[in-house]
């Protein structure tokens, strides 16, 4: 029984403070160093291996490449024009991102120890300005938020983790609920009233009310709606816009600058009201 006392004490301390315990800091630091080291090692190994593999097949490829080269030369002129256009658009996008939000790119260097949970470790931490509860996104949509930032690394809880919760809206009907993780490829939209309008295919976006995500960022698409005969809420299942298994690079929002990602509705106030009001109540 004495052996179980310490875990119980720590469990209560963690629950009360809601923060990672100070005792964990040296351990987080050490594991962070190991993860960063492994990441550098793996990048080096990958480079060397691919170089060797390239050398093995090089003579075979040489003949094919010579013939292909002629064809490609012709295409090059066409491609140059496209490249220039691409460059321009990229610069525009960069400019837009710079002016609207302060983002920091991070590389995924580790996954959760237990397959039932969905957290990832990224290679940026407090040293780079990362703080707890900062939003993490990709170009496709919301990924999760910073759970515990360390000096060189940060642990990100993905929105598909059962411990994650994000305040969200159904974009079409403005019905509000909480997105909670379920498993690696599903999440639930909970606490939606029975009468709230939500159908399969509706896009769910961040509401901005949790002070983590900017408003209007895509979270997922409704894949299933269940209404039991009794009860005041409905069960809604979401397919997240991101695939947590394939995450490689993410952005941490350092400063959202009150950015609203939703396109502003066009039309008179009356039309907008009619479009957005829920269809019925209980």
């Amino acid at each position: 029984m004495t052996a179980l006392f310490i875990p119980f004490l720590l469990f209560n301390m963690e629950r009360k403070s809601g923060e990672a315990l100070w005792i964990l800091r040296p351990f987080s630091f050490t594991t962070g160093l190991f993860l960063t080291g492994y990441n550098s090692f793996s990048t080096g190994v990958k480079g060397t291996t691919s170089l060797y593999l390239n050398l093995v097949g090089i003579s075979k490829k040489n003949r094919t490449l010579t013939t292909e080269n002629a064809k490609l030369k012709a295409k090059l002129i066409e491609m140059t024009e496209l490249t220039l256009e691409n460059e321009r658009l990229r610069n525009l996008l960069k400019f837009k991102q710079k002016s609207e939000m302060k983002l920091m790119a991070g590389k995924v260097i580790g996954k959760d120890l237990v397959p039932e949970h969905n957290t990832v470790t990224i290679n940026i931490g407090t040293r780079h300005g990362i703080k707890k509860n900062m939003a993490v996104i990709t170009a496709a949509g919301a990924v999760g938020y910073v759970l515990s930032p360390e000096v060189f690394t940060s642990q990100i809880i993905l929105l598909t983790d059962p411990y994650a919760a994000i305040d969200a809206l159904v974009q079409r009907s403005r019905a509000r609920g909480i997105v909670e993780g379920h498993n690696s490829d599903k999440a639930n939209l909970n606490y939606l009233k029975r009468g709230d309008d939500a159908v399969i295919g509706d896009l769910v976006i961040t509401s901005g009310l949790d002070n983590i995500f900017p408003k209007g960022f895509p979270v997922g698409v409704i894949s299933n709606v269940k209404k039991s005969r009794f009860g005041t809420t409905q069960d809604i299942e979401l397919s997240p816009v991101i695939n947590p298994n394939n995450l490689e690079e993410v952005f941490v929002i350092l400063d959202a600058k009150l950015r609203d990602f939703e396109p502003q509705p066009v039309g008179s106030p009356e039309e907008i009201k009619n479009k957005t009001s829920p269809k019925g109540d209980l």
Partner: protein, 179 residues
């Protein structure tokens, strides 16, 4: 007089290998093995220390391992400690009932603990966690992880024995140590 230096070296070697193995599990394994579930590399260390050390030493190692695991998962530290402490009790009980020297027995014990990880984790979560209970059991991951960890325990046993020999730690006796 007790050899404190040797004991410290022994703790250090085992703990360092636990860190290296666990970080490998969360970092390099997903990179190279993709979505194939990784073996739980801390379980062989925990099992070894509880089979071939005194219960007190085994318990200390289980606490130290919990501190190492907590930054690598979303599961709270207290809960990980609970799980590891239960494993200490299970290993000691198993050792009391049935003991055989050698790597096969060690590997079997590791397999048992890995298999129990999922139900114990769910049970503890059900009792202690006030968060919504939406965890799902991934049966394939569960079985595969158990098999891989059991297999990984065989070479690890040799490495752990080598660590003991290196630090002049008394090697496991045939009957095990009294509990």
């Amino acid at each position: 007089m007790r050899d404190y230096r040797g004991a410290f070296k022994n703790y250090f070697l085992f703990y360092l290998s636990a860190i290296a193995l666990t970080c490998f599990q969360v970092s390099l394994w997903p990179k190279y093995a993709g979505n194939i579930p990784a073996p739980h590399f801390w379980i062989p260390v925990l099992t070894y220390w509880n089979l071939y050390r005194s219960p007190k030493e085994g318990l200390i190692m289980s606490y130290l391992l919990s501190l190492l695991l907590a930054p690598l998962t979303v599961i709270p530290l207290g809960m990980i400690m609970f799980i590891n402490t239960i494993f200490v009790i299970v290993v000691l009980a198993f050792k009391n009932r049935f003991y055989q020297p050698g790597p096969i027995y060690f590997s079997m014990s590791v397999g048992l603990i890995t298999f129990l990880f999922v139900p114990v984790r769910y049970m503890i979560s059900f009792v202690l966690d006030n968060a919504h209970f939406t965890l799902q059991i991934h049966f394939f991951d569960w079985i595969f992880t158990t098999l891989l960890t059991t297999l990984a325990a065989l070479p690890l046993y040799t490495i752990f024995m080598f660590f003991d020999a290196l630090t002049q730690k008394e090697l496991p006796t045939e009957s095990g140590r009294p509990i």
